[in-house]
Symmetry: C2
Subunit: 330 residues, 2 copies
């Protein structure tokens, strides 16, 4: 029989706490795809890094002030949705019918509460709408016209089609339509879907959260739902395992159940976030899907993993400058 002293019991209680109170952390992505140095202008490189830094700073402030992981994830994604450089909110890609249909989801690792919207067209911040579905409706997922109507009734900020419009994304659609692409392998072409955004956070209480927001893929059929609003595919958070946000060829990410599968490997096989993320990315690639994920474990351990040339990404934690990166070699 082992007798524990009071000190040992105190120590044990301390160790059982998921993270020490100061160890908040925030990890973000802004899409994965065929981004190589030779395709980027120096100006755009600087612009993207500034945008990622701003998003990290915004979310970090929430966490540093004792805010929850859910609050930080939402605040971070709000910034990225408003930035036309990313395929989420303003700057979203166009559907085959020439519309912007936005998807988003958010999940609280403490309770595994979740909210998701698919195919919404009139809400400035789809991530805020996903949170409203989680907190103010009896449902987890709402789609299309019904989700737009719920947004109005819930008092979310509305935006006209012009708000989401960017010339660059519109020109992409025209190039896409001229090529008359219609099969999944073409849709996997990174130029046409690049720029989904996501964030995962762990707060001072050790709670995890994850969120993802996207315009989907250029030229997608009216009504197509990708992985971003599918809980378990593009987004998952579970305090027992990890928080994940994915960005990739959505159809493959749904079939693999990427976010849920990463959490399952961490919980059941004891893998680290990096091991689980790399393994699941490789499995998804076997199905045919490229992309990337960000993962944050319950102990604060974290990972980027992508099998594309680059992924817009960043990480912030107390006491150091935010890390931002674009290419495979930073």
């Amino acid at each position: 029989m082992i007798r524990l002293t009071s000190a040992a019991l105190l120590l044990a209680a301390f160790i059982a706490s998921p993270v020490a109170a100061q160890d908040w952390r925030l990890v973000i992505h802004g899409g994965a795809g065929t981004i190589a140095r030779e395709n980027m202008t120096p100006e755009r490189d600087v612009e993207i890094r500034a945008a990622l830094t701003l998003a990290l700073e915004t979310g970090s402030e929430v966490l540093a002030n004792g805010g929850t992981a859910i609050e930080a994830v939402e605040a971070t994604i709000l910034v990225l949705e408003d930035d036309p450089n990313f395929n989420a909110g303003r700057g979203a890609v166009f559907t085959a019918a020439g519309r912007n249909e936005l998807d988003a989801s958010i999940m609280d690792g403490r309770t595994r509460d979740a909210g998701a919207v698919a195919g919404v067209t009139a809400t400035r911040h789809p991530i805020a709408l996903a949170r409203a579905v989680m907190e103010n409706s009896p449902h987890v997922m709402m789609a299309a016209g019904g989700a737009d109507q719920f947004s109005l009734e819930a008092g979310l900020e509305q935006a006209p089609p012009e708000w989401f419009y960017t010339q660059e994304r519109y020109d992409q659609l025209q190039r896409f339509l001229a090529r008359d692409l219609s099969d999944a392998s073409d849709l996997a072409g990174a130029d046409y879907k690049f720029g989904t955004v996501g964030a995962v956070a762990i707060d001072m209480e050790g709670n995890l959260a994850a969120g993802t927001s996207t315009g989907g893929t250029t030229g997608k059929l009216y009504g197509r739902v990708g992985d971003s609003p599918v809980i378990g595919a593009g987004t998952y958070a579970d305090n027992r395992a990890c928080a994940v946000s994915a960005t990739g060829a959505g159809e493959y990410y749904i079939r693999e159940g990427v976010a849920h599968e990463i959490c399952a490997r961490i919980r059941f096989l004891g893998e680290s976030p990096q091991q689980a993320a790399d393994f699941v990315q490789a499995e998804t690639l076997e199905l045919g899907g490229t992309g990337g994920v960000i993962v944050l474990g319950a102990d604060g351990d974290w990972a980027f993993s992508f099998n594309t040339a680059g992924m817009y990404r960043g990480m912030a934690e107390p006491g150091s400058e935010p890390l931002v990166a674009i290419y495979g070699d930073e």
Copy 2:
């Protein structure tokens, strides 16, 4: 060093095959809820058992003739969708707005190809539409108007609102609206969602498939998406693990990722279908969600699991009469 004789090698090759050629199997459900003997009339008991038997016989014929698991799952669910006793296709429940919005999904365990539709209103057989999305579109999931449009263009059989209408379901909506229920705990009330249908099959080649079809919950908000069309929640199939179809309080089943979680426990923890199903059902109940699942393992092992008073259910295999059951004690 161990030397194997030719006979031993042949035996090893035989054992490595997932199932012997004759071991097809089909497991179905028609919803889980507060069905107890005292609430059923003898006539309805007979009618439900006959409907389940007809569905099992239809799918069994496909499998016995060498058809694929996907073909059998679709054929089985077509029968249940046409039967007004179940909350899928004809006989679907009504939304708060007095419409029928149908969800369905299907998944092939061999390739992990999948198709899903949410909130469709004009297709006689949502499960056939889910299969068309899987086979004839570049997408996995389509929702609402876009899915209805795809259905038309793909030449699926269309049906007017009257086709789906039943007096019993309409009266349920009126009772629901009179109670002015609006929170998730009330939506979990089994009378208002009972009757989702699903099937899982393993064919002579040892391939798995799963499918689910539903009208969702009575009084659901326009645009609500439940677990049935969410790959990983209501439906999952993976030859490496199992095929699952769920029927329960959809919001909780999405948050747990029920179908994917059961497959993960079988793959990573080596649990049997019954162990994994019972464990995940218990975890989902902790979140607040009641319901049931059917599971079929890669080795043909199978399970029913439900934490409600009853679940309409059945199983067929070569060489014996189909098994059908309704209550906890059969």
